[in-house]
Amino acid sequence: MSVPSYRWRRRASDWFWRLVVSAFVVVIGVPVVAIAGVSLESLAQVDNGDVLSGLHLNNYLQVWSSIGLGSFLLHSLAVAVSCVGIVLVVAVGMAYVLARFTFKLRSAIALGMLVGQLIPGVTVLLPIYVLYADAQSTLHFQLIGGLLGLILIDAATAIPLAVWLLMSHLEGVPRELDEAAVVDGASRARVLLQVLVPVILPGIAVVGIFSFLAAWNDVLFASVLTSDSTRTVAIGLEEYVISNGSGSGAVLWNELMAAALISAVPAVVFFFAAQRLVVNGLTAGAVRG
């Protein structure tokens, strides 16, 4: 008697969990599918909610001229790539010093890295803006409205997390490895670049991706520090909606959603790549013990 009832219960709970998963799939999927659908409709279809009367793939061609997606993406790419470059150079160096040398204030600086990543962006931006304005008027050098000021603040806010992650990676590398290289007569810089960097490459990749995403997805800094001619994609699209949407609703939602989806693709791809690297790193560490 007890065997069939056990089997029944098991089957019922299987169905219950299948239902739960389906509910999640619907809630995740509906907005994404709806938006992808809108990006393929004509504007009249969007207004009528008339979904099935034809595809308009040319939305994906129009956005480059009507919204100016090309220049937005170019600025975002320039900012994100420069940010990654600065972060990697500074963070690898700092992480090496913090992980391999003992000196006064070391743990204070390491703790500062941890707290630093938790400071709100607005809190950093206000004084930086005031200081940029000051530097601009005394040095006659453009920081507000250009890309350089944005790159610097994006990089500065990404560095604490980067240093923290790289530090823990470096501490996983046995010291004997670099000590052996020093005995063989290699300089500190060569030890770092030729011995340690190859070993912690997965960590460096994760840090690079996180920094790229932080810069690519940033709205706050870009909204203040870029001008009409240097908009990045996140703030460019936001501004497009707000400036057109407050009036009679002249937002080209179909094209906007096409643009938003295009700009989301690199971010989503990088996010999943980093995700896998992080998981691999965790399991590799577990195997190593």
């Binding site: 969990w17 299948r18 739960v20 999640f24 809630v27 995740i28 999927g29 509906v30 907005p31 994404v32 709806a34 938006i35 809108v38 207004d47 909610g49 500074v90 743990s107 703790l111 500062g112 941890l114 630093g116 938790l118 709100p120 962006g121 607005v122 809190t123 950093v124 931006l125 206000l126 004084p127 930086i128 803006y129 005031v130 200081l131 304005a133 000051d134 610097l152 603040i153 500065a156 560095i159 923290w164 690519w216 709205v219 706050l220 909204s223 996140a234 699209l237 936001e238 909606v241 707000i242 407050s246 906007l256 959603m257 938003a260 989806l261 700009s263 971010a267 989503v268 999943f272 995700q275």
Partner: protein, 283 residues
């Protein structure tokens, strides 16, 4: 560089928060009139416009953060439990469930702004099927729920990631032993999964997400721009508007100093409960 971007701004911040710095003094901020604690006292007085805005936005940020955690934790746990079972297509679902979190916040905010357009938006379409009528989501008192919906949708997988990762560390033998001793599904979830094994990672996830959501500027800004309905004017947005729209940097900086004070609470919890700080202390 870190001195330039952290230490020096911190000093400058505290000084600015004590002054009446506005656009007239911006080119030479040291010349702004010094008002002592005046900015802070007016922020705590609900009779003044500054205080009214500050306390209102503190409340909005509280609701926003509370909902993100209050809905996100159960959703994340439920999803993680579901996908920790053997099931056909599990690998696909595991990736799909991360999608809302992988989409940039500005994109999900745009998506939700579009879906919440009154009457023609998808949300009102669905609501009308079950008998609801067109709601003004994007203006007035409902606006806070618009950003809450968008934010919960976009952020719950954070808890799911933490929960699933720590559940995978739980050996299946424990569950088998519990089943043999007669524990049902609910009991083994409460006693094994929830209690000792994934409590710590979840606590860390909650603390971190408190900080992220309390600081979330992007969602309200992308959905409402520089003229948000007051119900959706969360603290980071309010600080931003005081600073960069009203160009009242003194008051804005005073608000941001106070928001740092609020955030010190979870930060201290984080430092106490996360392993990194203990590793540091041991050195």
């Amino acid at each position: 560089m870190l001195v330039v971007f952290y230490a020096w701004p911190a000093v400058v911040s505290i000084y600015i928060s004590l002054t009446k710095l506005n656009v007239f003094y911006l080119a030479n901020w040291l010349s702004a009139p010094f008002v002592g604690l005046g900015n802070f006292t007016s922020l705590f007085n609900p009779e003044t416009p500054f205080g009214h805005d500050f306390l209102g936005s503190l409340e909005a940020a509280g609701i926003f953060t509370g909902c993100a955690i209050g809905f996100g934790v159960p959703l994340g746990l439920l999803a993680a439990v579901a996908l920790n079972r053997k099931m056909r297509g599990r690998a696909v679902f595991r990736v799909l469930f991360i999608l809302p979190y992988a989409i940039p916040i500005y994109v999900s905010a745009l998506i939700w702004r579009f879906m919440l357009i009154q009457k023609t938006g998808l949300v009102d379409h669905i609501a009308s099927v079950v008998g609801g009528s067109g709601t003004y989501w994007l203006i007035g008192p409902n606006a806070i729920w618009a950003i809450v919906m968008a934010n919960v949708w976009a952020s719950w997988p954070f808890f799911y990631l933490f929960a699933l990762a720590s559940m995978q560390g739980v050996p299946t033998e424990i569950y088998e032993a519990a089943a043999m001793d007669g524990a049902g599904g609910v009991a083994s979830f409460a006693r094994i999964t929830l209690q000792p094994l994934i409590k710590r990672p979840m606590v860390i996830a909650i603390i971190l997400s408190f900080i992220f959501h309390f600081n979330n500027f992007t969602t309200p800004f992308v959905m409402f721009g520089t003229t948000p309905p007051s119900s959706a004017d969360t603290l980071p947005l309010s600080i931003y508007l005081y600073g960069f729209n009203l160009e009242n940097f003194g008051v804005a900086t005073a608000m941001s100093v106070l928001s740092m004070v609020v955030l010190m609470v979870p930060v201290l919890f984080y430092l106490r409960s996360s392993r990194p700080s203990r590793d540091l202390a041991r050195r």
